[in-house]
Symmetry: C2
Subunit: 210 residues, 2 copies
């Protein structure tokens, strides 16, 4: 059974569709046509229909798409109907920001452990998750069957942390550092390269003012 390969470009648009649908749902909108969604989200109606039809016919001719249904379908496609166990490695300000964001906004991602070079004691302690020193990461991840490691350590330690996590059975790395990691093919790596984004901003600004 050969799955049709979905292009990367399509996948990258899915979370955005989902965000707009969530907002529409919050506003009480029950249905939307590809044409109206196009105006909102900025993709062509044709592209929207093509994108969605990679996964199935979620609409209804003459009517459009049910907002709630389409939201849920996309959630399912993205794998957001499953639960993920997560550790955060590096509990500086970025790690803290991420931890707080996830625990407030991402019910399917469960932070089961937090690691840092120093054991942080007061103020920044995080809910039920223990804060541990990095040395115990490998044992913990293996024992707890952690799915995802979020890496927010200083650049030069990122590869080492990633290697440790992978050896301990972690299957996904969310990398928020400014380096690219070298990892086996069966591990999924997703990068948030903020500095690259800032540099792209510089490019477009400079181009704009010409």
């Amino acid at each position: 059974m050969k799955e049709k390969q979905i292009s990367n470009a399509v996948i990258r648009r899915l979370p955005r569709y989902r965000r707009f649908l969530k907002e529409l749902h919050r506003k009480g909108v029950e249905k939307i046509s590809s044409k109206d969604l196009s105006k909102l989200i900025g993709y062509t109606a044709s592209q929207i229909r093509q994108d969605l039809n990679n996964f199935g016919g979620f609409g209804q001719q003459g009517y459009g798409y049910s907002v709630a249904n389409l939201h849920d379908e996309i959630s399912g496609i993205l794998g957001l109907d499953k639960d993920y166990k997560m550790v955060i490695v590096g509990y500086g300000r970025l790690g803290q920001a991420i931890a707080s964001y996830i625990s407030n906004n991402e019910p399917k991602f469960h932070i089961v452990g937090i690691f840092d070079v120093k054991q942080i004691i007061e103020d920044v302690e995080f809910k039920d998750a223990q804060i541990m020193t990095c040395g115990s990461l490998a044992d913990f991840a293996r024992k707890e069957k952690v799915d995802i490691a979020v890496i927010t350590v200083p650049t030069e330690k990122a590869q080492l942390v990633a290697d440790t996590a992978v050896r301990a059975g972690v299957k996904g790395i969310w990398n928020l550092t400014a380096v690219d990691l070298d990892l086996p093919d069966n591990v999924v790596v997703e990068n948030v390269h903020m500095s690259d984004s800032l540099h792209a901003l510089a490019y477009y600004m400079q181009k704009q003012e010409q």
Copy 2:
């Protein structure tokens, strides 16, 4: 004089080229061929040469590219030879993390003001930049001729902050919130949608384990 339009895909790769070249330079590597860079960075040698030739012939036949020179050329293309005045709006943990990253790693981006709903007093005070309440953003940005506003406020305030900044003459918005902003065409917006990245990670993990 009609400039050749450079595709978005090319621009998005430039910061990555620059990062690898910086690292090579740090390691003392003086020259590199498109073939060797390909092995490192993961783009095809052909693509690398095509990308670079959008902006000029930076290499030398039979030799390759000078690492230092190519790094500097790309920096120039990205507009990283210019200086940018920046304000950070929202000084929670994410704002603090960003401020610290920029002041330590981005010499061309100058944080001239920091804004938050509360005036934060001790501990998190930031170098020379004043921390001000959001109400004074408009006047400050206009008076100081701020180029870029970094937005790290809670989701529901992001559009308001962006509007204020734009009215005060800001030309670029670096948006780190989970919403898309609606802004005039002459303002450049660059988004870091971390939650979209996390959702893409979920997709690829779920696909992997099938």
